[in-house]
């Protein structure tokens, strides 16, 4: 069963088309990545799916139309966006306590969830948290009521690698537990590492959709081997059986300082499809 289903969805602000005829579906329990540069329409799509914006076309989550979301659906989804506010003067615990009461979650769960996201100091006020810790707290709030779908809008943007890695591990854990995760990012490495399927969004249109590895293979036209010889030469050869003897020659002559195959990645796929590089 699909947790998220979108068909021919469009959205414009005034005369500007932000999303154009988008169709995609996310099966239950999948970690789906929506990739694209800033301004591609990723956040707009999350806002539409969570009932915050009107649109034309068809979109539903958990079998309910996105234009008709109500309490029952809101209690089954969690949202993490860069502008998800926190109560700055309240402690991490008190921030979660409010939402625990609203969602009928037992108070004991608050400590569990804070521990899970790596926030041990529960008494510190949210205003004193670093960016990474704030993001962990927002994530904890989104997870507090065990949502069936988790919407994450660039959850690791601007975070240090260690914090980003912790969040990645948590997301993979959640996926194992059966949570459907809808992730937007412009970090291709993150998408490749985490996502079951990705859609590449450019100027409001999905330009490619598929499994990250398959997409990389599909668009990996270079397929070269680069040899850095000990005598200082750099030799690039096609990665084909015909070149096997030449490559072996470098090894037999003990002339290989380093050897690299051209690794396909989503960044190159995006570049190939749109002629644009993604933001870093």
């Amino acid at each position: 069963m699909d947790s998220i289903c979108i068909k021919q969805l469009s959205k414009s602000f005034g005369s500007k088309n932000v999303l154009n005829n988008i169709s995609l579906s996310v099966p239950e329990g999948e970690l789906f990545g929506l990739l694209g540069p800033s301004g591609a329409g990723k956040t707009t799509l999350i806002k539409i799916l969570t009932g915050q914006l009107s649109f034309s076309g068809f979109a539903e989550i958990l079998g309910r139309k996105c234009s008709e979301l109500d309490d029952t659906i809101f209690s089954k989804i969690g949202i993490v966006t860069d502008n998800s506010g926190l109560y700055e003067r309240l402690s991490c615990y008190d921030n979660l306590l409010l939402f625990a009461r609203l969602h009928n979650v037992k108070k004991g769960m608050i400590f569990d969830i804070l521990r899970r996201v790596g926030l041990e100091n529960t008494k510190i006020s949210a205003g004193k948290l670093s960016k990474g810790m704030r993001q962990r707290l927002i994530l904890a709030r989104a997870l507090l009521h065990h949502p069936q779908i988790l919407f994450l809008d660039e959850p690791t943007s601007g975070l240090d690698p260690a914090t980003a890695n912790d969040i990645h591990s948590l997301l993979l854990e959640l996926k194992k537990e059966g949570t459907t995760i809808f992730l937007t990012t412009h970090n291709m490495v993150e998408a490749h590492k985490l996502c079951d399927h990705v859609a590449l969004l450019n100027e409001g249109e999905i330009v490619e959709y598929g499994v990250p590895d398959e997409l990389c293979r599909k668009y990996n036209e270079e397929n070269n081997v680069t040899i850095l010889a000990k005598d200082g030469r750099t030799v690039r050869l096609p990665n084909s059986p015909e070149q096997a003897e030449k490559i072996a020659g470098f090894f037999m002559g003990d002339n290989v300082a380093a050897i690299h195959s051209s690794e396909p990645n989503l960044e190159n796929v995006f570049l190939k499809l749109t002629g644009k590089e993604l933001d870093r």
């Binding site: 969570t50 309490d71 949202i79 502008n83 109560y87 003067r89 309240l90 009461r101 609203l102 969602h103």
Partner: protein, 229 residues
């Protein structure tokens, strides 16, 4: 409306307010100033009656306007209101909890005026009049909070409006023209009541008209905010 949600938000407001000294000060400033002035001018006949009624009006008008506007606008600015709405809280529940908290805090601190000296009306009428005035002020403050995009804009509007409504009754004591203008505000009518004067039929009409205008404005702004959030 879910009482559970209102209760949870009420507790949050109380904790948040307790950790916000400038905001907390707002609820104590007028009772403190009144107490200091009454003590400073102790012995002068009738002075406590004047100060008690004057500062009670200021407290009931100014404090709820600024508090409600500031609370609501901050919540909108920081996007926490949107997060609440996506957590099954309705805007109505939110406004009731904020308004209820401010009303209670204002009445609790305002009731201290009763102990500062003589007043022209009974204690229960004093509290009732302050409560009614605070309620109208909360609605006015909510309108400003819902209208403003952020806390700075809300304070920029709430403070002058609060001063206008709170200080007009005091200034009316010194100037006939101001008294005529002030007569059209609910604060002046409350001031008359607390000073032991009778509220005329026209006075009731003024209070009802003030309330009606603010309820209509708040309904309009409520609908607008609902679509925005």
């Amino acid at each position: 409306m879910k009482i559970k949600n209102v209760g949870a938000l009420f507790c949050k407001q109380a904790k948040d307010c307790a950790k916000n000294p400038p905001f907390l000060l707002l609820f104590f400033i007028y009772p403190t100033v009144a107490l200091v002035l009454i003590q400073a001018m102790k012995g002068q006949p009738g002075i406590s009656e004047v100060f008690v009624s004057m500062f009670a009006v200021m407290h009931s008008v100014f404090t709820p306007i600024v508090a409600a506007a500031s609370f609501i606008a901050e919540e909108r600015e920081k996007n926490t209101l949107r997060v609440l709405i996506m957590s099954n809280v309705t805007l109505k529940e939110y406004l009731v909890s904020v308004g209820g908290f401010i009303l209670l805090a204002n009445l609790l601190t305002g009731s201290s005026f009763i102990f500062f000296g003589n007043h022209a009306v009974s204690d229960s009428l004093f509290i009732l009049a302050m409560g009614g005035c605070s309620l109208i002020s909360v609605i006015l403050g909510s309108c400003i909070g819902l209208f403003s995009k952020n806390a700075a804009a809300a304070n920029g509007l709430a403070v002058p409006i609060g001063i206008l409504f709170a200080f007009l009754p005091m200034l009316a004591n010194f100037n006939r023209k101001i008294e005529t203008v002030a007569g059209f505000t609910y604060g002046q009518q409350l001031g008359r009541l607390l000073a032991g004067k009778e509220i005329t039929f026209c006075g009731f009409i003024v209070i009802a008209a003030n309330l009606a205008i603010l309820v209509i404005a708040s309904a309009f702004l409520y609908k607008r905010s609902l679509s925005e959030e």
